[in-house]
């Protein structure tokens, strides 16, 4: 019965997401596309952090690696649909390397190690103008139109609404794959690594391998999202891949509910969309909303996490515990 209810809710939400663009203007469709991609990247971080317990403050760097990799591959003449798996693979491989510090340090030390890595990637993209266009953006090397939107089976996805459906499809695909992964014995091993690595090792669980995999798969998902972020925004510079965006991705995971399957989807929606709603909803007599909507947003997040540190998806559990 509960399963049936869940499936019904899922179908309803998916239907709403398919119908929504009919009632939205271009900017709304763009925001929904952005949400789809950030939800994928946040799902990756949720895997690394929420399920496998490995702190990472570098998720935006992998988004950037995916975006620049696919753009440079397309510029070099590689078809987009070959570029996507390649860009994912590059992010996966770099993520695997980033896993090595985690074999030595944990928690806040690991947070700083990954933070340093994000800064490194950011600076590399910014300083290697000849390759990336540096702070002038990808347009410097790809031409003023930037990264072209792809076609699929000869059908061009140039229009925002068509590209949104592609992003949504990729979100569905990623969600399904992560669901299968977490149901597999690997998912159980990730949770064992998170809950008690010493015990895990005494039960033949190779914590080295699973730590590296947790980073690599999480990074791969961000790279995959980045590969679609590039044609979504078309012109980009290194700024969306800096430390602030990594913190924003962390916020999505934590606000949604770290270690909860739908946490990234809900967290990404809240973090990306709530500031815009606030901008529209805050009464104008308080002053120009764009000057202080982030203030209200910050307080809302603070209140939520103080009251319910498990995030939005932990609220039902909390209410149930209180009722008992």
């Amino acid at each position: 019965m509960r399963t049936a209810l869940r499936i019904a809710a899922l179908v309803a939400i998916l239907a709403a997401l398919i119908v929504a663009p009919q009632y939205l203007r271009n900017y709304g469709i763009y925001l929904l596309s952005l949400w789809s991609l950030f939800a994928i990247a946040a799902m990756g971080l949720n895997l690394t952090l929420g399920y496998a317990g490995q702190m990472s403050l570098a998720q935006a760097a992998f988004l950037g690696i995916g975006a620049y990799a696919v753009a440079l591959l397309v510029k070099a003449g590689v078809p987009f649909w070959v570029g996507v798996p390649l860009a994912t693979l590059v992010a996966f491989a770099v993520g695997l390397l980033l896993g090595f510090p985690a074999l030595r340090v944990q928690h806040h030390y690991l947070a700083f190690a990954t933070l340093g890595f994000n800064v490194l990637v950011y600076l590399a993209i910014r300083n290697e103008d000849w390759l990336t266009g540096g702070s002038m953006g990808i347009g410097q090397v790809m031409g003023f139109a930037g990264m072209p939107r792809p076609s699929i089976f000869g059908y061009s996805l140039r229009r925002g609404i068509d590209f949104y459906y592609l992003c949504l499809a990729m979100l569905c695909l990623s969600t399904l794959l992560v669901w299968l992964l977490l149901r597999s014995p690997w998912g159980r091993a990730f949770a064992a690594l998170r809950d008690n690595p010493v015990r895990a090792e005494s039960l033949a669980i190779d914590i080295r391998a699973y730590t590296l995999l947790a980073f690599a798969i999480g990074a791969g998902l961000a790279g995959f999202a980045g590969a679609f972020y590039a044609p979504l925004v078309q012109l980009f510079d290194p700024s969306p891949f800096g430390l602030l965006e990594s913190l924003s991705l962390l916020l999505m995971v934590v606000v949604g509910g770290s270690g909860r399957f739908w946490g990234p989807h809900i967290g990404a929606a809240l973090v990306l969309l709530l500031p815009h709603w606030l901008q529209a909803l805050l009464p104008a007599w308080l002053g120009p909303p764009d000057q202080w909507y982030l203030f209200v947003f910050g307080i809302a997040v603070l209140v939520l996490l103080t009251w319910c540190p498990g995030g939005l998806l932990a609220i039902p559990d909390r209410l149930r515990a209180r009722a008992q």
């Binding site: 992964l181 149901r183 597999s184 014995p185 690997w186 159980r188 091993a189 949770a191 064992a192 998170r194 809950d195 008690n196 010493v198 015990r199 895990a200 090792e201 005494s202 039960l203 033949a204 669980i205 190779d206 914590i207 391998a209 270690g259």
Partner: protein, 247 residues
């Protein structure tokens, strides 16, 4: 018969303190071997030397004729040595059933094949059987972190047995457990020993428990072996009485 576990002249020093000092012992297959001693006698350090948590300064440890001196916990668990910990060590965020499946899944197939394996990786029936044996079946679907202390202790033990280990090392299985549960644990361990032929090495403080459970007992004092013998021999050994009672 080849001993299943043997230690020869194992030593571990911390500065001037000889935590484990030239300790040798052998454990026969199918035996329940107890290690007792006053606080600070080196029991846990010896355990950690054998189980690869710390590397001994000297001596050798062998498992079924294979040298395992300094081998890490992962290698030992892969060889089929199970263990429990003094403190509670379960996966709190997983269900009780997933805890026991996690305890055995890595012995099946390869890392790669496990990615594509069915979620329960063929261990569902065995998990249910083990949980029934440890009287945890009614809690199978609960999160392990929500169990009582005694139930977590049982789960910790159930996990050590899931992969059919030849040898299980138990670090204070009776600590902090009520008398009824202590008796249940004793009967359970003896049953597993009888029916599956599992060998046990048990560190314990509770003398009644050790005397009733073990076939042979080694007494440590100040890092050295004070005596080895049957419970009856140990009980009547003057040196042991002196170490314990200070008489």
């Amino acid at each position: 018969m080849t001993p299943i576990l043997s230690a020869a002249n194992v030593s571990k020093h911390y500065g001037a303190i000889r935590a484990v000092d030239d300790v040798s012992f052998t454990v026969a297959p199918g035996e329940i071997f107890g290690v007792i001693g006053p606080n600070g006698s080196g029991k846990t350090t010896l355990f950690n030397c054998v189980l690869g948590q710390i590397r001994p300064d000297g001596g050798r440890v062998a498992f079924q004729d294979r040298d395992i001196t300094g081998a890490g916990p992962l290698a030992l668990s892969r060889l089929g040595i199970g263990r429990t910990f003094q403190s509670l060590q379960v996966f709190g965020g997983l269900t009780v059933r997933d805890n026991v499946i996690a305890a055995a899944q890595e012995h099946r197939g390869t890392l790669w094949s496990r990615l594509f394996a069915a979620p329960e990786i063929g261990l569902g029936a065995k998990a249910d059987e083990t949980l029934a044996l440890f009287e945890l079946a009614p809690h199978a679907g609960k999160l392990a972190g929500g169990l009582s202390y005694g139930q977590q202790k049982l789960l910790d033990m159930a996990m050590a047995f899931m992969a059919d280990p030849a040898l299980v090392m138990l670090d204070e299985p009776a600590a902090g457990v009520n008398p009824r549960l202590i008796e249940m644990i004793r009967q359970l361990l003896q049953r597993l020993n009888r029916e599956r032929g599992t060998t046990f090495v048990v560190i314990e403080h509770n003398m009644d428990f050790v005397m009733a459970l073990c076939q042979r007992i080694m007494v440590l004092a100040e890092g050295r072996v004070l005596a080895v013998g049957t419970p009856a021999e140990i009980r009547s050994n003057p040196a042991v009485l002196e170490a314990y009672l200070g008489a």
